[in-house]
Symmetry: C2
Subunit: 213 residues, 2 copies
DNA sequence: TAGGATTTTTACGGCCCTGTAAAAAATTCC
DNA sequence: GGAATTTTTTACAGGGCCGTAAAAATCCTA
């Protein structure tokens, strides 16, 4: 394995363990077993290392989603596949995702930060389209702001970077099942709802505001 | 307004704008209009300031949820109220939440970090109980791991710290409505589902694994 | 308005991290 | 096995931020 790759691997581990902002180049060098300055032979800064870790992972994520959207699966299965595409990246072998998502603002170089931001914007945009298309086909409920739905789903998935522990937590498959059920059909049991007053299509109104309606 | 409070307010703003780890005590002092060292008269470190900002906000969040759980609302309304309790903290006037959630690992002092972690653990635990009780009452679907459901909802809400822009984004009420609908009833239109093959209670099986069943 | 308490500033020492450049070591290739 | 290339180390200069302690300024209050 080339030294360059080795550095990226070790760096990922250290970033994941200590957090990016509390990791110096020396920490990475120690993990590899070389002097700090040797790192500069391969990368020009810590931000550079970080980008090399995150960017491929992010673009692959986007491409995966793109393929799903372009498939001819029904909307509901696209939704499931899209969530899986995202969750699979938290696979024990891939720490990149946790590193990429746990913190923010770590790229001091604005042009690099912009590049990464662009990828994520595209990803969010694709998700929004997936929702919109489902609505247009009459599969998903109309009236829900697609962008916000996308934000919600992404939040659900991305937040895993804060609590998911590859060794200890539930297997990814199980999480996928739960998240998909939640988003697609909700956690309220329709059987129970049927026997009660009436299942409102819209949620109960806000209690604080809205004097009228 | 006491200088102490003033420092906390400005610090919150700067933290929110630049991110915690890229903010020095000097930055805060500049925002207040005093010399860096004067800060030490009121706080012993940056971590101290941070904790004073986050801890009250977090405990108030927990207490709000506690009150909702102890109320005698039906489970579904508890769920909505709990989401609202959380989302309301992203109110334009309160930047604490974004600061608290945007990054991680910022407390170098382990005892302080543990204190904060404890509060959040309690919060997650309460959420889990809310879900469990709903299941026990037959309102929520059985079989979904309550802890994971809680993680999902919290992720959805917490991730707002990454994209919600008080001035620009949709009003909180609207987001609440969408998020609640998603979690409670899902985004799949039941009307459409009725006319199709058959609405499966469980999500379609994973396509990769599971050779049997 | 003088004396005491509070608040802010000046002065200073120290640690850690960054990044460049040149020398040394290791390797690869005839 | 010796020269050329690649890789690693040594040497060094600089900057940023931290936190303490003592002095100065400001604010009360009697």
């Amino acid at each position: 394995m080339s030294r360059r790759i080795q550095i990226l691997r070790r760096a990922t581990e250290v970033f994941e363990r200590q957090g990016v902002n509390r990791t110096s180049i020396e920490d990475i060098a120690n993990a590899v077993g070389i002097k700090r300055e040797a790192i500069y032979y391969y990368f020009k800064s810590r931000a550079d290392i970080l980008l090399k870790i995150i960017l491929p992972q992010s673009t692959s994520l986007v491409m995966g989603l793109g393929a799903i959207i372009n498939s001819n699966l029904p909307a509901e299965q696209k939704l499931e596949a899209a969530i899986r595409n995202h969750l699979d990246r938290f696979n024990p072998n891939y720490l990149e995702m946790t590193v990429a998502l746990r913190e923010d603002h770590f790229l001091e170089d604005e042009s690099k930060a912009a590049e990464l931001r662009g990828v994520w914007n595209e990803y969010t945009h694709l998700w929004t389209r997936l929702i919109e298309e489902g609505q247009e086909h009459g599969i998903f409920k109309p009236g829900l702001d697609a962008r916000m739905v996308a934000n919600g789903i992404l939040g659900m998935c991305n937040w895993m970077s804060r609590w998911y522990d590859p060794g200890k937590s539930i297997p990814i498959d199980k999480i996928l099942e739960i998240f998909f059920t939640m988003v697609a059909h909700g956690i309220v049991d329709p059987a129970a709802a049927a026997s009660r007053p009436a299942a409102p299509k819209k949620p109960a109104r806000a209690r604080k505001a809205a004097p009228k309606d």
